[in-house]
Symmetry: C2
Subunit: 455 residues, 2 copies
């Protein structure tokens, strides 16, 4: 009787089909990254807690998975201090290491640690799991993959354009129509300044970021609570809801900011990015969305967010520019910009819209039936011929009942079964059965590679 | 001033060049696995400690990285029990989860948990990091990758042959000449039985497994200590040191075992595997090595180990057959066989023998010099043409001094720099400089793809 085994809640096993679908997404993304000169790095799953703590706010600190020190983990702790009142202190005394919470802080740590070997501007991508002790729920996991692409050490807005190109190509390759929304933190700062609300920039942006989710009325109430005058709130909500062409929006914003320096700077940055897009348009739709704030407080310039056009789900890619990412580790004035692709959501969109190509379902093309040693030598030789032509195949490992071997092929979604029985062995032909259509054909041994190369 | 940041001891960052080298190894291995119908799976980094504990011996339990429970981890622990005398008990009360120690136990757990969805024989591979709180030293890390390929649910020895094929092809692809050593646990059991030492099979195999490392004399002493008679020890050492052709060795062993059932079974298994090899020889050398025991106690049949022929290092691949892997989780009688490729050692061999192909050093083919907006539009269009032809390239993100842009290309090992200055812009030519040879050429804009496709 098998034991009732399980895995920790919020974690997942990936079987062969899920793996092939996930790899299809990652491989396409990596191909685009590589074509644009972005290169892979990887960092360890464990970081020193001193690297991680304080980087994600108080709430984030609580969500870090901490690793118990090896050896005597009690030795730093006075006996009477081991009580539930001292949890934070205790965990710091018992744990030096934690699992990474995202790829951004480890990347900042990587850049600072290796700053003397790195060739700036440094274009890197990183696809690795991260861990958060969040309450697991539908679509939220305690172990999940992030897929980040960043360039650090260049403040040129051409980098933003290249990221838009990459986003555009990735989603074209995957077959997902998207709307790419852009904004600029400086525009938000300009708006706050015009409303005399510069001290409340963060709560203001957090409130307007929610407008799509909670609606105009609720957003209005939140903005009033921050202390913005009702007339200003209405004009702010009108402003962030304006649509129209990008050109029109830029003209409007320039007028709106008049001589507000930070606001005009933001508009100029948007305008420069758009000027590159005009040199070589991208296929998916780009929109300026002034409600875009992405809650994150380290963005200082461009903000980017990508939504699927034909599927209801949160953003599937997003990011922005940060002027001081490595500042948390004391390395000042290194500007960077990057985006993160949400692999789990992209997976859900592709499954929902049936976008995975059919070949993913079927990893192996041919199963050679095993009739024992007489024909086995021929099966081995023919299977090797197929593999030399890059066609995946296998020989059933033992001589057992035919229906068992066919059942195996069906369950593994192998399209063709190759049979070398007595008759075929004598006539040097294979009997090839297509399990999807039920048709059978006789093929001379020496035509096997040609036969399968064409299907 | 940058903070002195670091990563936990025994862990590593992988920069772009190391990543590309490692991916070269993994991609080649995966390609062979896939061609033989082995499919990928992944399991979570964290497993329940109940899954891991007791599977690796007492020493292994101590080397598990344990994850502190979220929330109040003190609540199960009576105040006066928090002392260094109770470390094992305390860690069990504070930690429910641990990082996986290998891929074998998680695979067994996966098979048992998903036994009703799995199509047996189940051919899977798994390439993921594992973590061990070992004392770090040269070549031994606390985080390292394992690369396992197993088939479970078939006792056919044809699977062993397929693994030999895979091993042979992987190392051919990577350019490493290897010696593949095989043995069988049943032969070792037969030898022990003939010496009246069946109860001491484990210490006996552990002792003879060391002969290559510690030499004949020291092995002899260890065997004497186990209680084997001196005359028997000498004949045992002669036996495991016999060389000669595989055929001769099999004939000799059959005589040696006479009517010893287990020994003869082991020889018959070896003979069957060799019969498949004779049907379709493999390129690398295969040897029967009776000293091969691989210490591991769960192997029940074939034992396989691979050594690099031209480089001094421990085994770079190894494995065997286990008849009861899932028995640890109560699922009996599921036989499997598999091997594990040692990625770190393979990396060292390839670096040592200079086997990495040159293209790995240079990830990006062309850098377009940025002279500002006049020629930028052309640069973007031409770069897109190259990427459509699968040629990796980038445009320097800002208009800055030429020598800075060249320095960037050199540091990133980009072979070609494409320059569109005033003259080139007017004449619709590119000036292409090869940084490796120093040569320059003028190429019409519309020939750029053809030009680079041929180099």
């Amino acid at each position: 009787m098998a034991v009732n085994v399980s895995i920790p809640k919020g974690t997942r096993d990936f079987g062969p089909l899920e793996m092939r679908r996930r790899n299809y997404i990652f491989d396409n993304i990596k191909e685009i990254f590589n074509l644009h000169g972005y290169l892979p790095i990887e960092t360890p799953a464990m970081e020193n807690l001193s690297t991680l703590l304080g980087k994600y706010g108080e709430e984030g600190d609580k969500l870090l998975f901490r690793i118990l020190n090896s050896g005597d983990f009690t030795k730093e702790i006075p006996k009477n201090e081991f009580t539930s009142e001292n949890l934070t202190k205790l965990s710091s005394l018992m744990c030096e290491k934690g699992l990474r919470y995202d790829l951004t802080v480890p990347f900042a740590r990587f850049v600072v640690q290796h700053r003397n070997e790195i060739n700036f501007p440094f274009k890197r991508y990183q696809i690795q799991p991260v861990w958060r002790a969040d309450r697991p729920q539908k679509g939220r996991y305690r172990e999940f993959f992030q897929c980040d692409v960043d360039v650090i050490g260049s403040d040129s807005l051409f980098n933003e354009y290249e990221l838009l190109q990459i986003i555009d190509k990735v989603f074209q390759k995957l077959g997902i129509n998207v709307i790419i929304k852009i904004n600029n933190r400086k525009i938000l700062a300009g708006i706050a300044a015009r409303l005399g609300m510069s001290d409340n920039l963060i709560p203001m942006t957090i409130a307007i970021d929610k407008i799509e989710k909670i609606g105009r009325e609720n957003t209005k109430n939140e903005l009033l609570q921050i202390g913005i005058q009702e007339a200003d709130v209405e004009s702010l909500l009108d402003l962030i809801s304006t649509t129209g062409s990008i050109k029109d929006q830029i003209v409007f914003l320039k007028k709106y900011f008049k001589d507000n320096e930070i606001g005009l700077k933001g508009v100029a940055e948007l305008e420069e990015i758009i000027s590159y897009v005009e040199m070589n348009p991208i296929k998916n739709k780009i929109e300026i969305d002034l409600s875009l704030a992405r809650g994150l407080n380290y963005y200082t310039g461009s903000i980017i967010e990508v939504k699927a056009a034909d599927f209801q789900i949160g953003s599937i890619c997003g990011g922005g520019r940060y002027d001081d990412l490595t500042g948390i580790f004391g390395l000042k004035d290194v500007s960077g910009v990057g985006v993160s692709f949400g692999a789990d959501r992209i997976y859900d969109v592709m499954l929902g819209l049936n976008l995975f190509p059919e070949f993913i379902e079927s990893a192996v093309k041919v199963l050679f039936v095993n009739f024992g040693n007489d024909s086995l030598k021929t099966c081995i030789a023919l299977s090797e011929k197929l593999r030399k032509n890059n066609i995946s195949c296998e020989i059933y490992p033992q001589n057992t009942k035919l229906d068992k071997q066919f059942k195996y092929a069906n369950a593994k979604n192998i399209e063709y079964v190759a049979i070398i029985g007595e008759y075929e062995f004598q006539s040097k032909n294979l009997n090839i059965k297509n399990l999807h259509t039920g048709t059978q054909e006789q093929i001379p041994f020496d035509e096997i590679a040609t036969y399968f190369k064409n299907r």
